[in-house]
């Protein structure tokens, strides 16, 4: 029961293609409005049908009377199918990461996606800890210095051990990955399911900055099992109005009771926004209230030096004034609500309405969450601390359905950005709301998961589509045009000419990669997005057959023809909303994305022998084979992580952490070469995830031999090694490990006697010797004990 995959998506694709041969020739037709309305009207019955269907399948998943599937969200797609997302429960408690999707077909059948169903759920007894105790454990870890933004939420859940967290990394100031101990999990579990509490916390104050962390706390031992950062950032940490970017635009605003106008659009959104719920209503003057559902733009109130006051305001013009903004870069610190600040508000509101309308008119989607919840933006964030810089960043809050937009540090910082309130940045963030609509329905966005790359790529792609849509011929609102509006770049304007990312050739940013490889999950999602961004680009635009061209791929040297923006967007949208429904576990791989897109393409009439575009687009990004390719591609992979002598992934852990090795010792990784009789590899130090700014060599530590045995460098840090196929040098794998200091007695030899140092310093107020901590940290605690023992086990296993 470690990785229950009773019905993988690939099997589903196959079933459709083979089992419904006649349908391949005639994909489901687009329905007229009246027919679609009939199907929508039947959605409530179809939800009940879906629940009943999964109840009838329980035995097949090893589930019993105590297990249920509860519908949480549903919509009717353009083919008239009800797409129902159900959450799995056990004895009335949510099974964390457990869900099912049913497609209730108009003709009566039900197609199911069961990759996220957790099988044979069984637990003993009741949790020994109270929810309150779990909350206090989470808060002790969070250690807030200021007040909570709102009360934390605690929910008792069933936690599957396969989703136990592991080591976490973050990028330091130079872009180098370093261990993030505060987000790392070292606990172990020895049962497939345990009682746990999910504790959702939110901080937004002067002392702590803005944080949204969700904890999973073991209901019996109080151990932290997983920590999830729920904020989606644009850029990994480093860091008739007139808009600056948008120029003259018309805006929907709201006339307030006192004759002023508010930058608030009540024509979009039918449910209130959570972010503004914390602000007090203003019944006596404007009449503004958090209970009014509306798109709205707020600003961070800074002082005249640009320091955030931790107060926010809604943009407002004086009585009778209906023009907003001066079109100039923002400089009026302390006067954020004035005409200069309004310029940023105009950019934001215009971009938000464009994105909102794009999803409504193209896909019939009601708001980001599909349920009409209004979106808010909070612009001119100028908060910067040594550990976090909000100025050149943008983020999406899943909880609050709001966008936080940096003020930009340019031109004071020549390498910084201008105001972050540009269309592609905002469309990117709002797309995170489409793919992450709720606290139980989201894609993981942290390094360690391929899914993080999916999360970012989908946002980057739809940002292009929104830009193309914004340049459509007036009145042609239901088609995404193939215009130059999509420049296939992210952030060219905020970067005053230099984009953050390129979709056509992601490696132009010198961080991202153009093709998939085993180990890509170690990268930050913004950079691991590269291959998917490229595949999406190829699908819409095609790939060149001319080496040297930006759209040439060595993985598809013959090139391909694209199917256009509109078709590509519809395929990808269908794939992400119907087949790749997020369950928060991070288990979606790029291969699964390909399978989902193939399946969606079939519906849209693009899946036949004559139109192999989806297969080729993904193949061109090294995600699977090309259409009609007869010999499968060579693949290089680090050995199965359940063996003793592997370099392991952080996640999907088999209850233990095994990617820890001693520094300065010789370890032997193992590699597998698939689909090629020549299994020889060339070993090298470092790997694509170990980018380190100008100094590429810091992470290339130690000595690696022809047989792959690796004498690790004497540096406590993340390090990578790469194995490249000699038969096909385009194929390689990166293995990443964290090296710790274990020679506590400093006799030049790591052995079990070194555990004595850990023993005598354990929980002193400062180690007796810095070498006693495997992390070279002042305090020696159970993390040191666990890491020491794990590293011994993985380095010198007993055969």
């Amino acid at each position: 029961m470690r990785r229950p995959l009773p019905h993988p998506v690939s099997a589903l694709v196959l079933a459709l293609a083979l089992g419904s041969g006649s349908l391949v020739a005639a994909p489901a037709p687009q329905l007229d409005r009246a027919t679609l309305a009939v199907h929508r009207a039947q959605q409530p019955q179809r939800i009940i049908q879906a629940q009943a269907h999964f109840a009838s399948l329980r035995a097949q998943f090893g589930l019993g009377e105590g297990d249920a599937f509860v519908a949480r969200h549903a919509f009717t797609n353009p083919e008239g199918e009800a797409i129902v997302r159900l959450e799995q429960t056990h004895d009335g408690h949510r099974v964390w990461g457990g869900q099912a999707v049913a497609h209730v077909l108009p003709e009566g059948g039900i197609r199911t996606i069961t990759t996220s169903v957790r099988t044979s759920v069984a637990l003993q007894g009741e949790p020994q800890l109270s929810g309150d105790r779990a909350l206090r454990i989470a808060l002790a870890h969070l250690a807030p210095k200021g007040p909570m933004k709102d009360a934390p939420q605690v929910e008792r859940v069933v936690f599957p051990a396969q989703f136990l967290g592991g080591l976490a990394s973050k990028l330091d100031g130079t872009g180098r990955p370093v261990l993030d101990r505060s987000m790392s999990v070292t606990a172990k579990l020895d049962a497939p399911y345990v009682w746990a509490y999910e504790v959702r916390t939110r901080l937004h104050n002067r002392e702590d900055g803005t944080k949204e962390l969700t904890y999973l706390i073991d209901g019996n031992t109080g151990k932290i099992l997983r920590i999830q950062d729920m904020v989606q950032h644009l850029e990994p940490a480093q860091g008739s109005g007139t808009g600056f970017y948008r120029g003259a635009v018309t805006l929907n605003t709201t006339l307030a009771n006192d004759g002023t106008y508010l930058l608030m659009d009540t024509t979009r959104g039918t449910r209130t926004n959570q972010f503004v719920s914390g602000y007090q209503a203003d019944p006596s003057a404007t009449g503004w209230s958090p209970d009014i559902p509306a798109l709205q733009v707020w600003f961070h109130q800074n002082d005249s030096d640009g320091n955030y006051t931790w107060m926010d305001g809604l943009f407002q013009t004086p009585v009778g004034v209906t023009t907003w903004g001066d079109g100039l870069p923002f400089t009026a610190w302390g006067q954020e609500g004035g005409i200069n600040g309004q310029t940023v508000g105009v950019d934001a509101m215009s971009a938000m309405t464009t994105t909102w309308d794009f999803y409504k008119n193209i896909f019939g989607r009601d708001g980001m969450d599909g349920q009409g919840t209004a979106v808010a933006a909070n612009v001119l964030n100028n908060f910067a601390s040594p550990s976090w810089d909000s100025r050149d960043n943008a983020s999406w809050s899943t909880w609050g359905q709001y966008i936080d937009l940096g003020a930009g540090s340019y031109p004071a910082n020549p390498k910084g950005f201008q105001s972050m309130a540009d269309l592609d940045v905002i469309a990117h963030e709002m797309t995170h709301g489409v793919t992450n609509p709720s606290q139980s329905h989201y894609w993981v966005n942290s390094a360690g998961y391929e899914e993080a790359g999916l999360n970012e790529a989908v946002s980057d792609f739809f940002a292009q589509m929104v830009k193309a849509y914004s340049t459509r011929t007036p009145g042609e609102d239901s088609v995404i045009p193939d215009t130059d509006g999509a420049d296939w770049q992210i952030g060219k304007n905020v970067g005053h000419g230099t984009p953050l990312r390129w979709l056509d050739k992601p490696s132009l940013d010198e961080r991202s990669v153009d093709g998939w490889f085993d180990g890509i999950k170690y990268m930050d999602g913004h950079f691991s997005a590269g291959p998917l961004n490229r595949a999406f680009y190829f699908l819409a635009n095609g790939a060149s057959s001319t080496p040297g061209s930006a759209s040439y791929s060595p993985y598809l040297p013959g090139g391909m023809t694209g199917i256009g923006n509109d078709a590509a967007a519809r395929i990808i949208y269908k794939a992400i909303t119907e087949f790749l429904v997020g369950d928060g576990t991070g288990t979606i791989t790029f291969q699964r994305v390909r399978e989902a897109c193939e399946q969606a393409a079939w519906y849209k009439g693009y899946y036949s022998e004559g139109t192999p575009a989806v297969r080729n687009a993904f193949a061109a990004a090294n995600i699977g084979d090309a259409h009609n390719q007869t010999t499968p591609r060579t693949q290089v992979r680090f050995a199965d992580f359940r063996h003793d002598d592997y370099i392991e992934s952080t996640h999907f852990s088999d209850y233990s952490t095994r990617q820890v090795f001693p520094k300065g010792e010789t370890v032997v990784p193992r590699i597998t070469v698939l689909n090629n009789s020549n299994t020889a590899v060339t070993w090298s130090l470092g790997g694509p995830s170990m980018f380190n700014g100008a100094d590429q060599n810091i992470s290339k530590g130690g000595v690696i031999n022809a047989d792959g045995s690796w004498t690790t460098p004497n540096v406590m840090a993340w390090h990578s090694i790469t194995a490249t196929s000699q038969a096909d040098p385009k194929q390689f794998a990166e293995g990443r490990v964290f090296l710790i200091g274990m020679d506590t007695d400093m006799d030049g030899e790591v052995d079990a006697l070194d555990m004595a140092g850990v023993s005598v310093s354990w929980y002193l107020w400062g180690a007796l010797n810095p070498a006693h901590s495997v992390f070279e940290a002042p305090l020696v605690d159970d993390d040191d004990v666990a890491f020491f023992v794990d590293a011994m086990k993985s380095t010198w296993p007993v055969k």
């Binding site: 031992t221 233990s656 004595a756 023993s759 007796l768 023992v789 011994m792 086990k793 010198w796």
Partner: protein
């Protein structure tokens, strides 16, 4: 301690030569393929590796026993064996210690939950709590094992008993002959003394000095194939 290991190494060399010489010389007894191992305990009352009753003809289990009356807080050693014999692992009923080449005999206190919670409601015991019990087999068939108490507040334990266990296994594939000697050499060893300084949480120079391992010789018996 270093002198001791050198001495033992020379002894081993002597044995090996004698053994090798013996096999090359025509002998009245023909070579008989070995079917197992036999271990004879060392003499003496100091630190020693003594055969445990759970041993079988093909798996020799050895107890680390210390001098009676000596109180310690843990011990570790490195043991070099010829590549013609395998170090065995122990299967236990918990995931933390199973598969290790060392077995906890229950003398030392290995568990102690996070002291940050002292003074508050205690957290129930975690069956998977990290323990300072580990080992491995390094290149060249060098066993390294250790067992240490996690908290200085726990009392030191009487050492004149089985403190931990290791195992040596017969490998039928290597072609040992009955009577072949298998030299075992302790290359490093040490124990953590009872006195590790005052019981406060502040690091001091005194604690640094007293927190070091005390080297000790470990007497090893003779292992041979039979």
């Amino acid at each position: 301690m270093r002198k001791l290991s050198l001495l033992l190494s020379s002894l081993l060399l002597g044995w090996t030569l004698a053994c090798g010489g013996g096999s090359n010389t025509p002998s009245s007894t023909p070579l008989i393929p070995a079917k197992g191992l036999v271990y004879t305990d060392p003499t003496g009352t100091g630190w020693r590796l003594v055969k445990d009753a759970s041993s079988t003809g093909t798996r020799i289990v050895l107890n680390l026993v210390g001098p009676s009356g000596l109180k310690t807080r843990g011990a570790g050693f490195n043991l070099q064996a010829p590549t013609t014999v395998r170090f065995g692992k122990f299967v236990t009923d918990d995931r933390v210690t199973t598969g290790l080449p060392i077995l906890d005999t229950g003398v030392y206190s290995l568990l102690n939950h996070d002291p940050r919670d002292l003074g508050h409601e205690p957290i129930p015991n975690d069956p998977l709590e990290p323990r300072l019990l580990a080992g491995g087999v390094k290149k060249g068939n060098l066993l390294t094992v250790g067992i240490f108490q996690k908290d200085r507040y726990q009392s030191a334990k009487e050492s004149g008993q089985a403190l931990c266990r290791i195992a040596l296994e017969f490998d039928p594939a290597v072609g040992l002959n009955a009577g072949d000697k298998l030299g075992l050499v302790i290359t490093k060893s040490g124990y953590l003394a009872e006195d590790i300084g005052e019981l406060t949480v502040h690091p001091t120079l005194e604690k640094t000095e007293k927190g070091r391992l005390v080297p000790m010789p470990i007497a090893v018996g003779t292992l041979s194939a039979n």
